[in-house]
Symmetry: C2
DNA sequence: GCCTTACCTTAAACTAGTTTAAGATTCTTT
DNA sequence: AAAGAATCTTAAACTAGTTTAAGGTAAGGC
């Protein structure tokens, strides 16, 4: 039963009943995604909410100089969407790309609106999911404006011990907002201590 | 009718019916807040969702060196909460302080949970409110890791033209993540162009 | 297996932004 | 009105982090 991890994940919030589960099965789509495959590209409107069953994604913006700025990594049981593009139906500035071969469940916007309208439980569940994402993002911002690069790297390593092994150092550097060279320097200085 | 701006603001989402309005009147509290008065201090648990009827607030963290890092300003029709502290009932790391004399409506956590449970419309409305806040926060983070201080200042001025006159330059500097001295430098350089 | 691409490391030169310092101005409190 | 506090400005000295450069290693593709 491929949706089981998605259904199971809702148990943390308001669990789904049989009818809701069946509707979810009808209105969602499972996809296999190759490494480096995009599920959203800059300039496209984000049309789906995506749940990660297996695998890892990075969400990033490319600036005018071509530099990649990673703002989020998503792994098993995470939800992915460019919320601004999804709701306002405007072209996204962001890319979402698979860091490794992955399996996802996608709910298209009309279907998600159907759930919100007909099953208020989904409003609740997605509000809570969003709150958790908001808390993380807010902590991230706080760190970015108030801590040194080394502190941010240490936080990353202790907050996401398993994620570290799935990402390149270049991606991690981009996430904490520094260059790969500087991350190398920090890491070698720490080895010398 | 002091709750009118709050009730009116819900018209952007799902408007409230008479019963919901009455329940809101029963379960919310209007407060007058003096300039520099705190509605949340570090170490306290955030127990309310706060709606600004009139006035302006800053939400900030004080780091170990005593430096203030502003992460959000809130004005009329904005909602304020330290969401992490509110939901997990853990002491907040943040302060929320009035930048000017203000009037607010507060909903205590048990009352908000009552609304969520009995009026699913509130789940919807607060999910949408949170989405808007999330979008703003995400854009803020993106900017912080990918643009220069001057670009961030220019964005602030064009995004929040009216806010600029209600805040000191020191607060704005703290919000965009630079020192007041550097902001002064940027501003005088711009005057020379 | 070979070639290409991506990643990682190291270091010197550089710079966007900070710290230190201090004077001037504005605002608040008594 | 005077005193104190907060804010703003300016500038020199400083530094956390970047850019430029290049070599080595690992991974991916054909």
């Amino acid at each position: 039963m491929p949706l089981s991890s998605l259904i199971h994940s809702f148990k943390k919030y308001l669990p789904l009943n049989q009818e809701e589960i069946e509707e979810l099965e009808r209105r969602s789509k499972i996809r296999k995604i190759k490494r480096r495959q995009f599920i959203l590209s800059e300039g496209e409107v984000c049309k789906h909410y995506t749940f990660v069953i297996e695998g890892c994604f990075k969400m990033y913006k490319v600036d005018e100089t071509g530099k990649e700025h990673n703002i989020m990594f998503s792994v098993e049981e995470d939800w992915i969407a460019d919320i601004g593009s999804f709701h306002d139906e405007v072209p996204s500035q962001l890319h979402v790309e698979a860091v490794e071969a992955s399996t996802i469940v996608q709910i298209a916007k009309p279907d998600l609106l159907f759930f919100y309208t007909n099953y208020p439980k989904f409003d609740r569940n997605f509000r809570v999911i969003l709150e958790n994402q908001f808390i993380e993002l807010q902590n991230r911002l706080l760190q970015t404006i108030s801590t040194t690069a080394e502190e941010r790297y240490n936080s990353f390593v202790s907050d996401f011990p398993h994620l570290q092994h799935r990402l390149s150092n270049t991606q991690i550097a981009s996430y904490i907002g520094i260059t790969p060279e500087f991350l190398s320097r920090i890491r070698s200085q720490q080895l010398r201590k």
